[in-house]
Symmetry: C2
Subunit: 281 residues, 2 copies
């Protein structure tokens, strides 16, 4: 496994691989790797000949300085964790933005809702950095996890609209035994908050059961979710059922008639967690 901190050396490696007729998959991460990331690597290795994992805590996608400061940075452990996988190269740049950087890539519409509302500037930071990574690594395939559902959708739209020569693969959410979605942020949860946080997947599952049982009223599906999260001591950022095409939330009075997604963002012990479930068919 090779580790690159320099953009040009990273690109040279990728071009050498592709010149030799092999394909490259990129798994962009912010490090603090967990089992979920390793499953992305596994999935990537089924999609291309060589897997590149990028590790970079991107400052432009943090809307709160405190969140950026507290984001776990564990490069040494991350590299160790990747050693046993099919990851062939790690891109861990020390600097991605030159002084005076002034260029942004933005996706309108999909970013108007959910995390786009409560984390101003977040998606602009994500699309700007991922576009840069695509220019440096030049992969054939990029893997994005479905836990960050809105992010995955926004990046797919960027790739499509900007004619990136890249195939996007969405990876299913990987969960802890009790159902909590794996996230680098889980490491920051105080133990009692970690226990309470299981309310998120349980509430999603209950809502999905209710939907599968025929319930289509948005308010009737969301009510129990909100109640369960509050009972677990969460501070709710949002709990919404969004139209899957636009990600615009449906009002409580509406009924679901087209594919939708139930999305949650909630704070437990000061840590913001997100999760979602598809309401289809």
């Amino acid at each position: 496994m090779e580790v690159f901190t320099d953009k040009h050396l990273m690109r040279e490696w990728s071009r050498r691989v592709r010149q030799a007729g092999e394909t490259v998959a990129l798994v962009p991460t912010m490090g603090a790797l967990h089992e979920g990331h390793l499953r992305l690597v596994e999935l990537a290795s089924a999609e291309a000949d060589r897997v590149v994992v990028s590790i970079y805590v991107n400052p432009t996608q943090f809307d709160r300085a405190e969140d950026l400061a507290k984001y776990p940075r564990t490069l040494h452990t991350d590299l160790k964790a990747l050693e046993g996988t099919s990851c062939k190269a790690v891109f861990a740049p020390t600097e991605m933005y030159l002084p005076g950087s002034a260029t942004w890539v933005t996706v309108e519409g999909l970013t108007d809702h959910l995390c786009g509302l409560t984390r101003p500037g977040h998606f602009r930071g994500v699309t700007t950095i991922v576009s840069k990574f695509l220019h440096v690594v030049e992969p054939d395939v990029a893997i994005f996890g479905n836990k960050d559902y809105q992010q995955r959708r926004v990046l797919e739209q960027m790739v499509r609209d900007q004619d990136f020569p890249i195939r996007v693969v969405a990876a299913p959410t990987v969960r802890e035994r009790d159902g909590l979605a794996m996230s680098s942020r889980n490491a920051r949860l105080p133990p009692e908050a970690r226990q309470r946080a299981v309310a998120i997947p349980r509430a999603l599952e209950a809502a999905k059961d209710s939907y599968d049982g025929g319930e289509r009223r948005v308010g009737a599906l969301l009510g129990p979710v909100r109640t369960a999260l509050e009972a677990a001591g969460a501070t709710i950022d949002y709990v919404e059922i969004a139209d899957d095409a636009t990600l615009a939330p449906l009002p409580d009075e509406a009924r679901i008639t087209t594919p939708a997604v139930l999305a949650i963002a909630a704070f437990f012990g000061g840590v913001r967690l997100i999760d979602n479930v598809a309401l289809y068919g």
Copy 2:
């Protein structure tokens, strides 16, 4: 010379060329090709093994619907003109934006001034489409003309900030015998307006002479330019001396102490013309 209207076929050609070890230069144009464009092609052929000319009237960079409607479209003649040159491939897409496109590439700062002020949204359209072309054609080199000085600078910043694996080459402005900068828009000038438009290069030249003679007062340099343009019946959009690093205009009371550019945008016979001269050293 090959002509591609399909993005994927265009990219395949470019990849085939580069796979064979040759380099590709892209000359992006909106068609209505004139001698200035052909000089860009010549320059490009000195910079790379194969030259691609793109021809596409990009709707998103027009701030006025009337300007877009009146922009000359002469594909047949353009292809004829390129036949005799070292252009190896033409990319003339019929459609560049998929329905529902919502992604923008923007450059802040440099676009706050000059044409960025008087043509709202113009540069956002330019950077968005050029980024798309770079993803489709995947050139090693891109050629931008210096007549559109602010555009060239904005695109250079985009390429740098976004880590595009591309070298930008700036091409000198090509002029008619009387000094008028070549532009596709010149074809739309009524004959009498075409004659009057020579006031632009003459005013620039006079200002440059004055600068070379030691004049550093912004107002003293700009005054005669404004007077000459008005005497020629122009409707001035802007006449400014801008700091070359930021493109922010200097106030009339200031003195030039660092590299600057004198930039003009003015309407003659309803047609908007631009030109500029560097004030260095």
